[in-house]
């Protein structure tokens, strides 16, 4: 049996257009919400199910939230990046998940927020995140605004250049354009030590890299580890220059938050005792050459890193 359908004249094309628009909006909304909430965990080790006593109490503020909020890099392989599956991955992501496992017994009890060199400290001071684990070198200036945990990695600044480039050292940059990222150690060092270099600063390392490749800068100045990884993946580039501004990386903790600082330091000491850093580094940096090069830059049982006491930025 067919039912006669009558469309009133007034509900013509206009009504249809409105409905189609609404349906489209709904589809977009559903798709957007489905893609949200990427605290998802990919590592096999998901935690013991029980919180681990690291020797210092977890701050009550974090305890009551039931999860740790961490600012990480999302464009910085092999430390913090988004993998092919769209998930957070990298050495620092592993550390963040380990912290969550200590705090709440499961590696998924962590909310990862993408930060950049320029916005990571404001994110922390405005309490959007509990801790920064985002390739942050120790500098006396930064130590005035945030507290640093004990160091968990060490790196210095080098240059990435096209394979056939005549640039061999930082001195060659005088008067030339060079790409960097805003607020990075590389940028701060260049400002002080190669004053005539024309910095072109981007928010993302990926942008600074592609700008260098399209010859908008003769070199890309950044941490040696990132550059080594990029050079290993891009055969038309190479790393040059003596290591500059070498300094350890620490986690950033809100100024004066002693409870958080004590817990993080205790947790890092436990990771060091378990040789977690080296195991995790080998897992995230698969290139054997890069592994070898940076072996002494991770804390291991009996091998600790120290912050420098004097000025870091010697030219």
């Amino acid at each position: 049996m067919t039912r006669p359908v009558r469309v009133p004249a007034a509900r013509g094309r206009k009504e249809y257009v409105v409905r189609a628009g609404l349906a489209g909006l709904l589809t977009v909304l559903v798709m957007a919400t489905a893609g949200c909430g990427s605290t998802g965990d990919t590592s096999e080790d998901t935690g013991s199910g029980k919180p681990v006593d690291v020797g210092a109490p977890l701050p009550a503020e974090v305890q009551s939230k039931g999860q740790l909020t961490v600012g990480v890099k999302c464009d910085y392989p092999p430390f913090g990046y988004i993998d092919e599956g769209g998930k957070d991955a990298g050495f620092e992501i592993e550390i963040a998940r380990r912290l969550a496992a200590y705090a709440f017994g499961k590696t998924s009890a962590v909310k990862l927020t993408c930060v950049t060199g320029a916005n990571r400290v404001p994110y922390l001071t405005t309490k959007r995140i509990d801790v920064i684990i985002a390739t942050m070198n120790y500098t006396p200036e930064r130590a005035q605004t945030v507290d640093f945990s004990t160091p968990y990695f060490n790196s210095g600044v080098k240059l990435l250049v096209p394979k056939n480039s005549p640039i061999t050292s930082f001195a060659d940059l005088a008067g030339k354009p060079v790409t960097t990222t805003t607020g990075s150690t590389a940028s701060i060092w260049l400002t002080q030590c190669v004053k005539t270099a024309k910095q072109v600063a981007f928010a993302q390392t990926s942008e600074a890299f592609s700008a260098m490749r399209s010859n908008r800068g003769v070199a890309f100045a950044q941490d040696d580890t990132l550059l080594a990884e990029l050079a290993a993946k891009n055969a038309d580039t190479k790393v040059v220059g003596d290591e500059k501004a070498g300094s350890p990386w620490g986690m950033g903790i809100r100024k004066g938050d002693k409870a958080m600082g004590a817990w993080v330091d205790a947790a890092l000491a436990k990771m060091q005792a378990e040789d977690f850093f080296w195991k995790s580094f080998q897992k995230t940096v698969t290139d054997k050459g890069v592994q070898q090069q940076f072996q002494q830059f991770v804390p291991r049982p009996g091998h600790s890193l120290k912050y420098p006491t004097g000025a870091i930025f010697q030219c």
């Binding site: 320029a118 404001p122 130590a143 005035q144 507290d147 805003t182 701060i188 981007f202 399209s214 002693k258």
Partner: protein
């Protein structure tokens, strides 16, 4: 833990005088903002009048081409357009500098909106005026130039002002390509000194003051051009 020197436990103390020690970079940033905005605003106005007129005059093919331009630039985000001009075009063999991408992207984006603003203005002029002109022996072009253009532009003025204000403010998008305009300079200073409040309040005041001046001028212009008895 490594503890620093001066900051209070609550984390922040406000130093209003701080920005004065960074006036140099902020001033240079402001000049660059004004430079790309001025070219962008001038260009977007010219593009708007010219292409808007061509659409209103209903010239075949040209009209469709202009429509295509408007749709492309109105239906894609400005940020995507900037990234395309800066990062994608070099692969196609055309390398534009950051300054060129700055004013060009503003011009193309603002131009697309202005085409619509002016077209709407021209089409709002009542056909009887054109018919009267034609009856008096004016050519189509002369009728447009002497009657539709002056009347339609007046009608379009408020929405054109809106678009041009957006063009000015959108110059801050150039931070994406590291062009050191005002916002980029500010973020650069913040990334090293962490004086978030002082720096952003300062540039906020600068943007506010400049846009306010511009809109006051636009309102004066509107009043001055208003036809007694009104259209």
């Amino acid at each position: 833990m490594v503890t620093g020197r001066t900051v209070t436990a609550s984390g922040y103390h406000f130093e209003p005088g701080f920005v004065f020690s960074h006036l140099g970079p902020l001033g240079h940033g402001l000049l660059r903002t004004l430079a790309i905005s001025a070219i962008g605003i001038g260009g977007a106005s010219a593009v708007g009048v010219l292409l808007g007129a061509l659409i209103a005059l209903r010239i075949p093919v040209v009209r469709q081409l202009i429509r295509a331009y408007v749709e492309v630039f109105r239906n894609t985000p400005l940020l995507v357009q900037i990234f395309f001009l800066y990062f994608a075009l070099p692969d196609a063999g055309l390398k534009l500098g950051a300054f060129t991408v700055g004013w060009l992207s503003l011009l193309l984006w603002g131009g697309a909106y202005n085409v619509e603003n002016f077209r709407a203005g021209f089409e709002a002029v009542e056909p009887v005026y054109v018919e009267a002109c034609r009856a008096l022996g004016f050519s189509r072009f002369a009728a447009f130039r002497r009657v539709v253009l002056p009347l339609g532009s007046r009608i379009a003025l408020p929405s054109v002002t809106n678009t041009l204000i957006s063009v000015f403010k959108n110059s801050s998008f150039m931070i994406a390509i590291g062009y050191p305009e005002l916002t980029d300079s500010a973020v650069d200073i913040v990334s090293v000194t962490f004086r978030v409040f002082e720096v952003f309040i300062a540039i906020g005041v600068v943007y506010l003051a400049l846009v306010w001046l511009f809109s006051v001028w636009a309102r004066l212009l509107e009043r001055r051009l208003a036809i007694p008895g009104g259209h």
